[in-house]
């Protein structure tokens, strides 16, 4: 006998079955393999009598299994050829599938929504406001009186004529240079306590290069309450950094200066490119600047009529592009505004 007559027979059957296209061909197969007189399986069973008892038992079981298997496949195939199904090979499944067109959200939207979700989870509410602003909301109420260096014509884009404000208030004269004006708008309309974020586009008179665009996006944050401290600022923004980057991310707060906060700070997180070891992305410092923050300046509370002795609070402003650059490892901020489908198509669905 050949080395494995059962396997050989099964292969023969499989090939023959694939070739069978009509009910008649399938019937012929049944005769050829299972026919009482000369069927291959029947013949095989007959030869077993000559073998020793234990070998006969094993091979007998296997041959009977093959018989049942062939029987089942013949029955299924009979039903198929009766339905006139296309023959095997008529559909090439290795060709590409037909994709329903699917769009993706913009990377800046994805980052902004991620920031929003984190702060929503920390008990913040999300607010929105106008992109064109008046001088009082954008500067003066934020402790930047006229002639303050931060108000340089270099920085601010002005409208050539005032535009009516959506809320019927002061006419807009400029494109907001930051979302901090939303602190003022919100506090004017709502009593403390406050726990809000305000995302949106802001504008600066900056030339376009790899790290600057005259338009970018920020998320402003403001918390006001009784006894809110710099420690609370640290705890809240550490929580944000750990959710946005990863749970064990290291942070540091460096003193800085903004006219509307005192004390002011910059939050650095360890460089995501080198985990703090130092690389070109972080100019070998191991740290990346992520946001500016600080305790709300009492002059700001005074401008909106909050009792600056009773209420304290903190504010922060996160640059969305900056976060997106950190998150996606993009080295040119202009990519976010070129709308190249080859770039946008890499975003997750």
């Amino acid at each position: 006998m050949s080395p494995d007559p059962i396997a050989a027979l099964r292969d023969d059957f499989t090939r023959a079955l694939e070739a069978a296209r009509t009910p008649a061909e399938v019937r012929a197969l049944r005769d050829r393999f299972l026919g009482r007189k000369n069927g291959h399986v029947t013949t095989l069973l007959k030869t077993l009598g000559a073998l020793p008892a234990d070998e006969r038992r094993t091979l007998g079981q296997q041959t009977n299994e093959l018989k049942r298997d062939i029987e089942a496949r013949l029955t299924a195939r009979e039903a198929d050829v009766g339905r006139d199904l296309p023959p095997p090979g008529s559909t090439d499944v290795t060709l590409p599938g037909r994709r329903r067109a699917t769009g993706r959200r913009h990377p800046l939207t994805l980052v902004q929504e991620r920031v929003e979700e984190i702060f929503l989870g920390l008990g913040f509410q999300v607010i929105e406001g106008p992109e064109i602003e008046d001088d009082w909301h954008n500067f003066e109420a934020l402790n930047m009186p006229p002639e303050h260096p931060a108000r340089d014509m270099q920085d601010t884009l002005y409208l050539s004529a005032p535009l009516p404000a959506a809320d019927g208030g002061r006419p807009a004269t400029l494109l907001r240079t930051h979302t901090s004006g939303m602190q003022i708008r919100y506090m004017q309309a709502n009593p403390p306590p406050v726990r809000v974020i305000a995302p949106g586009r802001v504008y600066r008179r900056d030339s376009v290069d790899a790290t600057h665009t005259p338009m970018f996006s920020q998320v402003e944050g403001l918390v006001v309450g009784e006894g809110i401290s710099l420690g609370d600022l640290k705890g809240t923004l550490n929580a944000f950094a750990s959710r946005f980057f990863h749970a064990a991310v290291r942070t540091r707060f460096r003193p800085s200066f903004f006219p509307y906060t005192e004390p002011s700070a910059e939050l650095d997180v360890e460089c995501q490119g080198c985990s703090g070891r130092g690389c070109p992305l972080c100019k070998q410092s191991g740290w990346m600047e992520v946001l500016g923050c600080g305790m709300v300046h009492p002059a700001v509370f005074e401008a909106v009529g909050y009792d600056a002795e009773r209420w304290t609070g903190f504010a922060f402003g996160v640059g969305i592009e900056r976060l997106a650059i950190r998150l996606y490892g993009v080295d040119d901020i202009r990519m976010f505004y070129e709308n190249d489908l080859r770039f946008l198509g890499q975003m997750p669905l």
Partner: protein
Amino acid sequence: MKAPLSWLRESAAVPDDPATVATRLAACGFEVAGVDGETIDVEVTANRPDCLSVYGLAREAATAFDVALAPPPGGDLPPTEPTGTVPVTIDDAGCGRYALALADVRIGPSPRWLVDRLAAAGVRPISNVVDITNYVMLEIGQPMHAFDAATLAGPEIRVRLARPGETLVTLDGQSRELDASMLVIADRDRATALAGVMGGAASEVSNRTTRIALESAWFDPAAVRTTSRRLGLKTEASTRFERGTDPWGPTRGLARALSLFEQTGAGQRVGPMVDVWPSPAAPPTVVLRRARLASLLGDQVPDQDVIRILSALGFLVAPETAGWRVHVPTFRVDVHREVDLIEEVGRHWGFDRIPATFPALAELPRPSVAGLDLGRRLRRVLAGVGLQEAATFTFLGREAAEPFARPGIGLVDIANPLSENFSVLRPSLMVGLVDAVVYNRRRGQESVNLFEIGAAFDARGEARRVAWVLTGPREEHWSTPAASADVYDVLGIAELLAEAVGTEIEARAATDAPWFVPGRAAVLQTTGRDGTARVGACGQVLPAIVEARGLPRGEVVVAGELDLEALVGAARPAASHITALPRHPSVVRDVSLFVDERLPAAEVRGTIWAHAPDTLVAVREFDRYRGKGVPEGRISLSWRLTFRAPDRTLTDHEVQRAIEALVTAIGAAHGATLRSAAGPSPTE
């Protein structure tokens, strides 16, 4: 501010290691841009003009390392006479103090050490006299200016506002037209320097100069800023003055400069010094409460550390029961109130030592703005039907924006644009999206389907919009011939968006959207309690517009835009309940009519609804045909009508009667004739 460490260490014995000093300065609020050899490049924030000096930074470093600070480098104050050698008159409050001394000088090069220090600090050496004035400015932060005394008419000095039409050639060789907002230093006859900004060429110290008048003054920050901004001229001096210099600096600066003249052999004082200081202000006193310090920082700083930090920074600290009475030094122009002192303590105590806590929620957070959910919902819908979200610039060139302006409503110009390409606020989001389509088509993308949500602007103000722009084949697959997106694609998106916010839009032929091809443009409107309102438009963008933006001839770009506030205003309030499924079967009938080819389908639909029995539940156009079998000038329009009653199964007879009545009504209203009414379709 570039500070060589050896210079800084003359005043404070901080570690002789630039990296160590740089790290510590950064930790107390002085970001370091870089370290080059022994020179530390410090980014001084706008509130700390006192640290635009080596000595100011030495004070911060001494505090940070808890080492002693030497007294400021100087020399003996020269004797003062109010009238002095050169009469000085201050005519404008923009000058708070003006000190002046005469010196006989021997002009020549500076000694090597001085040149090296200036070079390390990034200042080009010029001559011994000018170099010393720069050295003093870098060392103690007092800007100074040397005039060639022989050129001063009088000689006298008058600090006054410029006269209208007055001109001055400044040291940089530029002739500058002055106006009455600018403060100048004048001699008897004419302006000879821009106060606090730049000297004049005519009185410049030269090789032939033998006697100088050395100015050391205090100018009002706003006055210097005005001159500097109006002339677009920023200098090392103006940067310091406009942020605020020490009112006690002028005489100290003179003393230091004169001692350096003597030390280097550059010159010698002649006669007494003039010092005109009309109204010296008393330095402010601020009370710092121990409890406030602890509650604002969220940390208890020990009393001895509070006193150590503030004293080292130059504050005079007098303990009181609840805290301290603190005298602010005159060079700290940024410290006015308690919170400013809290910052001083906090940044030298170390922000990193303050324990991180999490603020308790005192109240239930208020709900977020409705726009948050709206924006997310629209993005989900649009991305779901295959549109890619884009982000385009809010401002753009006039020639790109103008075609998309609504007739009679002006564009919004930027007064000080960076370039022509950013000079106008977008009147429509379609402007940037069309450019993005062109950008991608030029890079070989066949299908470009984009949307954006954002603000658009015109003379009426700011409005939040959603817009979408499509071009190219709808679906690209090897198995199917590609059909290009057309007007019905953009219309369908508008319908979908309306549904997403809970309203319906009606499309009518548009006449007020001149950027679309006439006849392929729809105005989108909603009908609410206040009547019918325009919420947007869609259609095929005029080929001339897209070709002007760089698209090849013959490409079809379709687009749509909706005003979100108007759309949401028309939405039904939260109609989110689900209607139970009908218990009785529907009857579906198809009706085809011949109508005039120019008759909008919407009119027939209106007639159908106006004459419909209660049992008509849905009307849908499913065919529009022109050609064989249709009379000239007419088209065949087909509707699928669904009838259903909530309480019974409708009979064929009753549906047939309803159809007949509708056909009669449409015939009467629009001159339509019946083409066919298909028999009972299978019930749905």
